[in-house]
Subunit: 149 residues, 2 copies
């Protein structure tokens, strides 16, 4: 458990690609290419984003994925919450002994501390939007193009 899954990274990557595409759509294969991964994995993760109302999928020929909201209205927290499950900081694997003064109180106390800490992280993730990320991608590309001149 060295941290959460990389699903958040994949989700944010995909959302940024879709934002880059404007109102258009991309197939899971195209997204998988950019991720150097595979279409099924992409569909699994984008399926969760769809369930969360962040993207839409269209079946059949010429089908694919597109944003369901403006990039300005999608934060990294939205993506994170949609694809990541479980808590960041794991609690006790077993309930501690009730015979110990510390053991019978520590769980509730830790729960508060850990939840607060997780919320602090989520708050930070909620401050960046896909639009902001895309803007910085475009800025960097523009700078590179200018430097190549």
């Amino acid at each position: 458990m060295a941290g959460l899954s990389s699903r958040s990274a994949v989700a944010i990557h995909a959302l940024t690609m879709l934002a880059y595409r404007g109102g258009g759509s991309l197939t899971s294969a195209e997204i998988a290419d950019s991720l150097a991964s595979n279409p099924v994995l992409v569909r699994r993760i984008l399926g969760r984003l769809r369930d969360a109302g962040l993207v839409r999928s269209v079946e059949g020929r010429n089908g694919g994925w597109s944003l369901a909201r403006a990039p300005r209205g999608i934060t990294l927290l939205d993506a994170y919450a949609a694809v990541e499950e479980g808590r960041v900081l794991s609690r006790h694997a077993h309930p501690p002994s009730d015979a110990c003064e510390v053991g019978r109180n520590i769980c509730d106390l830790l729960e508060v501390e850990f939840q607060d800490a997780e919320r602090a992280m989520e708050k930070r993730l909620g401050r960046t939007t896909v639009a902001g990320l895309l803007r910085r991608v475009l800025d960097t590309e523009r700078e590179l193009a200018a430097a190549d001149r």
Copy 2:
């Protein structure tokens, strides 16, 4: 990877028990009892706390574990940093395609966002000390004792 390991919880639990004990020591067996776990696991985790300078261990008969610092000077972040490795938010499993405008820029951008988010969590963990946790344990016990009267 549904979150980090429960080592932080174990470490904080153990530190609070040692603080409860004042300047005294506890054996890994005693701590394991309270955790409903096992002495080897406890020694593994407390070994890391020792390497981080948070606790001391004494070998041989009447040996055991004790705090190396005042509980006021030990934060949850100290425990977390000592026993947890790796990042909370996982990055891309593979470097993305360099052919994609988004793919070749997103990693650096995500790195900043994720590091900021992790730092926000750590900052919150750094605000609570073992002494604070112990105080709340004692408060709760006192209230329970009063209610039993």
